[in-house]
């Protein structure tokens, strides 16, 4: 019992979630599993309807799955009573895409950052003022920002406030749901630098679950990347390996669809026809088979399992005919 790798901080298993909508029952998650180690960054990427945001919401317990489990630090996160959950929520922070709508417009910046400290009874009242000032400084905001309201700050500054609030309670996991998607390129790099330095510098050395669709951002920030398609993870690998040699045809399509960094001739056409199919009526078998250039008869019949390849350095692929042979 003593040897073996340490248990992951977060372990997600076989998550299923269906939503009833006007258009029918949307199967948002159809058996999602991943692990996240302490201090590590895992990115969930995919297009609209892939289920990446739903997976994050389940981890945050903003909604409950139909089936599956979430273990956080070895405890059954989904079985916690409301009271226990409230006690332990301080260990999980969250930053959403749009700080304009996720911050209470009536509270000052100091009040917004202090709120989680008060809720979780961290520090005496007098101490909290000091803690808040320290947090505000740690995200690169001037002390003068503390007395201001969110609307008087720029988008980038508001996102700094959201990060200070997420880190206030010393979380060991922070869910980052498209945290830089609404920001200009110059501000985006400031916030990405901040997130990385806080992960290294914060006493709690938080793990990040990063939800994103911008592959250049994901490549920069994530240790590992899981690609989602129609409610399933189709490939998961160390980020560098995934970008260097995608094994799932959908991963390859995503990478090939990225705009280039500079103008010049293209070796392959930019676009392939077809949209992600509706999550209301996902295709049979492999969800990607109708768009897949290397699809075989079996692909329409059987859902490929997400399996770890031998000598793949921690890569898993769900494909009957993965790319790159071997």
């Amino acid at each position: 019992m003593s040897a073996g790798p340490p248990a992951p901080l977060l372990s997600v298993n076989d998550l299923h979630k269906t939503f009833a909508t006007g258009a029918g029952r949307v199967k948002a998650l159809r058996g999602v599993a991943f692990d996240l180690a302490a201090g590590e960054t895992l990115a969930l990427v995919g297009e609209s309807g892939s289920g990446k945001t739903t997976a994050a919401r389940l981890v945050l317990r903003l909604t409950a799955p139909d089936r599956g489990s979430v273990l956080f630090d070895g405890i059954d996160w989904l079985a916690l009573s409301a009271r226990e959950l409230n006690r332990r929520r301080r260990e999980v922070g969250v930053v959403f895409q749009d700080p304009a709508t996720s911050l209470d417009p009536r509270l000052t910046i100091a009040e917004i950052v202090a709120e989680p400290l008060a809720i979780h009874g961290i520090g005496a009242r007098s101490e909290r003022r000091f803690l808040v000032a320290e947090l505000v400084a740690s995200v690169g905001l001037p002390t003068s920002a503390m007395a201001r309201l969110p609307r008087s700050l720029s988008g980038g500054q508001r996102q700094r406030v959201a990060i200070a609030r997420a880190l206030a309670t010393g979380p060991r996991l922070v869910v980052l749901d498209e945290p830089v998607s609404a920001l200009d390129v110059s501000i985006r790099s400031q916030i990405l630098n901040l997130l990385k330095s806080l992960q290294r510098g914060a006493p709690s050395r938080p793990a990040y679950l990063f939800i994103g669709h911008d592959l250049s951002v994901v490549r920069w920030i994530a240790d590992r990347t899981a690609v989602m398609y129609l409610g399933r993870i189709v490939e998961e690998a160390p980020t560098a390996a995934l970008f260097a040699s995608p094994r799932h045809p959908y991963t390859a399509l995503l990478l090939a669809s990225r705009p280039r960094e500079a103008p010049g001739p293209r070796s392959a056409p930019l676009a392939v026809p077809g949209d992600p199919p509706s999550p209301v009526a996902p295709p049979s078998g492999c969800p990607f088979h109708p768009r897949c250039a290397s699809a075989q008869p079996v692909c329409a019949q059987e859902v490929p399992a997400l399996v770890a390849g031998p000598a793949e350095g921690g890569r898993s692929v769900a494909c009957h005919a993965p790319l790159g042979g071997g």
Binding site: E47, G156, S186, S189, K196, L215, V217, R260
Partner: protein, 334 residues
């Protein structure tokens, strides 16, 4: 201002004022001039608050009051757009100039189907019969890569996803047969594989119909993929204009260099940090009297705070507004 060699679109010394912090008018767009030729894709780039969107609205005289065009001219196909009688202005919008703006939810009538909107445009601007218009409408939905066009003809905007609405709007803008498409962040709401399809569509239409496109965006990847020429805007002014390849290979203005360097993937290997621009775009009315970029510029020197540089040719079809270029001629052109 007509004749065959005049550019399709010509903007001269355009100045747009917005209400300032204490009520007085301040310039948000300040003396902007540029041309777009037939069949050319020109990107207008810069951070939020640089005046890109106001500039594009002025092209069809749709700047919303109390914002107003103070001075300058916009010529389209040799005609002064601001001087057109109201009926001709209506015909220009959606006819000669197609428009795709952000917020597709707000731009579509919630009680009309996509098919109704499209057939109406085709009847109005292309003089088609109802029947012909319906066939043509479906063809456009297909071209913008909307899945199942026949069914989407009957869809209301709320039944479409954000990305599908964006493509329906693009079909609407193109169906009128414009010679110029003004597209403000046309791919911002789209997934990467769909974005790739939309970029390919614009490139194909340029080829087939000599469609000109003014692409307003802050996504330099889209620019690299689609644009022939790039205009970089900062604080209401064009600070650099260059052929796209030239701009990416040899950016002249420090602001352009900073934008390019801030992209993930451009950082020094193993530095672990992205190049970040400090500070933010100054608001209209709070702009420095010298070069507007001076407070954020790592290469600024004495003269930059004292006077405002104007655009000067820097070779290879490029122009930039920066004192570094005449302080050390050629020095920054790598």
């Amino acid at each position: 201002m007509s004749g065959d060699d005049a550019p399709l679109l010509s903007v001269r010394a355009l100045t747009i004022a917005v209400p300032g912090p204490s009520g007085e008018e301040v310039a948000a767009v300040d003396g902007v001039s540029f041309d777009v030729e037939s069949g050319e894709i020109v990107a207008l780039v810069g951070e939020s608050g640089c005046g890109k969107t106001l500039t594009s609205l002025a092209l069809v005289d749709l700047v919303p009051p109390p914002v107003r065009v103070v001075s300058g001219d916009v010529f389209f196909a040799g005609r002064d757009v601001r001087m057109l009688p109201p009926r001709e202005k209506e015909r220009l919008r959606g006819g000669g100039i197609g428009l795709v703006f952000q917020e597709p939810a707000a731009a579509l009538d919630p009680v009309r189907t996509i098919g109704w909107e499209l057939t109406t445009v085709l009847e109005r601007h292309r003089g088609m019969s109802r029947k012909a218009a319906r066939i043509e409408a479906q063809r456009w939905l297909h071209r913008v890569a909307l899945p199942d066009p026949e069914r989407q003809m009957h869809a209301f905007p709320y039944q479409l996803s954000g990305g599908m609405r964006q493509r329906a709007l693009l079909a609407l803008a193109l169906a009128g047969g414009p010679r110029l498409l003004v597209a403000d962040e046309p791919t911002a709401a789209l997934d990467v594989t769909v974005q790739a399809q939309v970029i390919e569509l614009l490139l194909a239409l340029r080829q087939e119909l000599s469609l000109a496109v003014l692409l307003v965006t802050h996504d330099l990847g889209v620019v690299a993929e689609a644009a022939d020429r790039v205009l970089v805007m900062y604080a209401g002014e064009i600070v650099e204009s260059a052929p796209a390849r030239e701009l990416f290979a040899h950016p002249r203005h420090p602001y352009t260099r900073a934008l390019l360097a801030a992209r993930p993937g451009s950082e020094a290997p193993d530095s672990g940090r992205l190049a970040a621009l400090r500070g933010a775009v100054p608001e209209p009315g709070r702009r420095p009297s010298g070069c507007a970029f001076e407070p954020r510029c790592d290469e600024a020197f004495g003269r930059c705070a004292a006077a405002r540089p104007s655009l000067v040719p820097t070779g290879a079809g490029a122009e930039a507004a920066c004192f570094l270029l005449d302080a050390k001629p050629g020095a920054r052109v790598l």
